[in-house]
């Protein structure tokens, strides 16, 4: 490693903290507690300077959106506006306890309520819960809503249908909610195969989970037919909002007859991904599903905003409090800054950027699905693989050129997949540079495949042995 572990800066007795004096007399520890006292805990003993230098050094081994293009497909790695960070740090908005009386927090609740209204408008859903703390959490919440809905109707429905191109979290969430997952294959256009769907659908079908455009970036041409088919057997249609950046102002899940959905505030609405989180995965539903939403639900009466706990049909809680509020503040700031027209323009430019990349790359890399696509597209590295370097090699080689790699080996329906989503915040120079780098790598594979196969060369560590890591896990110092 380039920077040693913080533990290795430790020196007995060194301190980096400061606390006020105790001020009060010490109390005895009662017998029960005395029994549970520990001698000491092993933690680093370092100075404040040590801490600052160590984590500054670690940050320098990282790459974020501020470092350059981050074209991870389905992750929507757009620019995270600095002003949103300032909003989230306003003391009156952030130094607040979840159990303060609502009267003291009308400002925060107003913001959350505005966010709800805007999400409802964008999606054509009727009611929104902000409680789920991530996209997958929103999926799980949605499926629990479906489950509760059918229980309430006293229908026994055990199956959830998931296309093979779906995000991995969809089947996992369905399983967690206690459903059996039925996977259906896509047709040769990369869309839901209606025959497969028809075959899978029956009276036991609780829901179809779909993202539209799907992970190939392709919009389901028969979307209304699909939702109708599911509704015809009494099932629900769930919309995975990971790809919302593709349709804002152009289409709405509610108008496609989806019954419920989740949003990813950290994708579509520009909140930072934090190296893996926190995110936020609000769930929107049509009116008939609103009674099942988690409690409490944010409401407004004439005088004030309040949390409604009186929700007898609710699935219960999915989070200790109200979800990832700090993330919601940022999403609110984003929507207010960009505005309605701006959101549409955002989508247009996200789609334009993706299509421009696709147009420039499709001759050198195999394009497995020729259909028009929206905010992302999937290439296959199979031609390059035949020449000696895999998609993994290409991804690693990109790092040498100081660019992050696309999502690779996903969706599973494409061999040697590279799933590319540039987002609207990249400009043409960055896109061109990315294209030229991929073309260079493509040339390198022909001329010097070892160079690519042994990539990366210029990163702080070379290619890491993942097999060894999994075989002999070393998970702590």
């Amino acid at each position: 490693m380039e920077e040693k572990l913080i533990k290795n800066y430790s020196s007995p007795g060194r301190k980096g903290y400061s606390l006020p004096p105790l001020e009060v007399e010490k109390s005895e520890f009662n017998q029960e507690i005395s029994h549970y006292l520990r001698e000491e805990v092993e933690l680093p003993e370092v100075s404040e300077v040590d801490v600052v230098r160590h984590y500054t050094a670690l940050s320098e081994l990282n790459y974020g959106v501020d470092s350059g293009i981050y074209p991870l497909g389905s992750c929507t790695m757009k620019y995270n506006p600095k002003r949103n960070e300032r909003i989230a740090r306003i003391a009156e908005l952030s130094n607040i306890h979840p159990y303060q009386p609502e009267e003291q927090l009308q400002g925060s609740l107003e913001i959350l309520y505005q966010l709800k209204l805007d999400l409802a408008e964008i999606s054509a859903m009727d009611e929104i819960t902000l409680q789920p703390a991530s996209g997958a959490h929103g999926e799980f919440t949605s499926l629990m809503i479906a489950k509760k809905y059918f229980e309430d109707k006293e229908e026994k429905r055990t199956k959830v249908i998931v296309p093979d191109s779906a995000h991995g979290t969809n089947p996992a969430s369905a399983t967690m909610a206690g459903f059996e997952v039925v996977e259906i294959a896509s047709n040769k256009k990369g869309m839901v195969d209606l025959d497969e769907l028809a075959e899978a659908l029956d009276q036991e079908t609780a829901a179809l989970m779909l993202t539209n455009p799907n992970t190939l970036g392709i919009f389901e041409e028969d979307i209304l037919k699909i939702t109708e088919m599911v509704h015809n057997v009494g099932g629900l249609v769930y919309y995975d909002g990971a790809n919302m950046n593709a349709i804002m102002g152009y289409a709405k899940p509610g108008l496609m007859d989806f019954d419920l959905m989740h949003f990813n505030l950290h994708k579509t609405f520009s909140t930072p991904h934090g190296g893996g989180g926190p995110g936020s995965g609000p769930v929107g539903v049509k009116d008939f599903l609103a009674p099942y939403l988690p409690k409490p639900l944010l409401k407004k009466d004439e005088e004030k905003y309040y949390w409604d706990y009186n929700r007898p049909k609710s699935i219960g809680k999915v989070h200790s409090f109200y979800g990832n509020y700090g993330v919601m503040l940022r999403a609110w700031a984003y929507i207010k800054t960009v505005g309605g027209k701006g959101l549409k323009k955002t989508t247009e430019n996200a789609v334009l950027n993706a299509n421009y990349l696709k147009a420039r790359l499709k001759d050198k890399f195999e394009l497995p699905y020729a259909e028009d696509s929206l905010h992302e597209f999937v290439l296959s590295g199979s031609r390059q693989k035949a020449e000696g370097a895999s998609t993994l090699n290409i991804a690693k080689r990109l790092l040498d050129y100081d660019q992050y790699a696309p999502t690779i080996y996903f969706p599973l329906v494409v061999k040697e997949a590279m799933m590319i989503e540039p987002t609207e915040t990249e400009n043409i120079e960055t896109l061109d540079h990315f294209v030229e780098t991929l073309l260079t790598i493509s040339r390198e594979i022909k001329e010097n495949p070892e160079l690519v196969k042994n990539a990366p060369h210029s990163t702080s560590v070379r290619k890491l042995d993942e097999t060894e890591a999994a075989r002999n896990p070393n998970l702590r110092w």
Partner: protein
Amino acid sequence: MDYISNTAAERNKMLKEIGIKEVEDLFSMIPEAVKADDELNIEAGISELELMRKAQNIAKKNKSLDQQISFLGAGAYDHYVPGVIDALISRSEFYTAYTPYQAELSQGTLEAIYEYQSMISDLTGMGITNASMLDGASAAAEAVTMGARISRRSKVLLPDTINPSYREVIKTYGSGAELEFIDLESKANIIEPELIKENIDEKTAVVVLQYPNFYGSIEKMEEISKITKGNKNIIFVVIVNPILLGVLKAPAEFDADIVVGEAQNLGSGLNYGGPNLGFMACRDNRKMMRQLPGRIVGKTTDIEGKEGFVLTLQTREQHIRREKATSNICTNEALNALMATIYLSTMGKTGLKEVGEQCYHKAHYLAKKIDKISGFEVANKDNFFHEFVVKTKEKSSQIIDKLLQKDILVGYDLKRIDEDGILVCVTEKRTKAEMDNLLENLEVL
């Protein structure tokens, strides 16, 4: 304003390259029937100046903890957050990155998570820690479902001394996993070991305890642990307040199988309850490891033998195992885990201990004094750490309201969960003057 980088001229150039005329053409595959015809009914965008003004004006409708004295806890804690944390997590290489899929360009995040895993393991005494969970409640819920998977049973003993929100979330997740819950009723704010014993049978999958419990008291962890260990298939899940582990015994010492909790108090601040930081640690064995949800970072070497870090054991995860995954968790609370890592590094061995001790002594100072005021009684006696229950003669809600007028948030009203009394929390941030202020006000109520 928007965040579109390209100009009209550049967009035209791009359209030309694509071979179409207008941006709208890119959306032609959307069937007319579902195409939105109206503009979004959302106000026009605004400039940064207007945004800041708008936010400041709305913020004035709030009253923050800076403007009053707070003894609120009950699962969200107001501890000291060292200033270095925000300075460091504001490094954009950290906070604008995503899950470290490309390890070689993400060593900063990966090494920090490895440190986080190590320190949580040191605190809890458990062999393995994952890279974070969404919050304490969902971590507890996933611990229960994980326990049930391992034990291949479905009954869960759920004491009422567990944070009520956690119990609700556990039940939501349990309903997904089709578990059966036995609610156990406490006496004098703790669970009698006998009660556990009585309720264990051959279907029992999981016993859960909170340490210290919701009321601030220390349960008879060892006795109960021994009882659960009498049945080797039972998984003993302990929910712990990590900031107290500088002073309190590691749950590994009384044989916990899975340890979870909320680490918001390790440097994340309050933020109205989110983003919080769930953590999960378990015994170091293959069975546990295979069932653990979430990301895990491992140390390995590169092709030149240099040490480095990667996401590992991914075969448990949903992007490989899909419906057979141990959990659906994907996005987690990585940045909060980084905050906790920096917090634990900064406070270190002696700092964390001092925090715990200050909490204890300050809470006991206050409790003793309250107990002496007529009309008030501390229910936990002296078995509590830094939270305690005050039984009041007058209705708790009235007392809370009266103190609100004095700019004091005296605590969590147990009426919220249909009990009597107020749950009062004292952290190291509370000064003697603040506590004396509360005492003076209580005396004249």
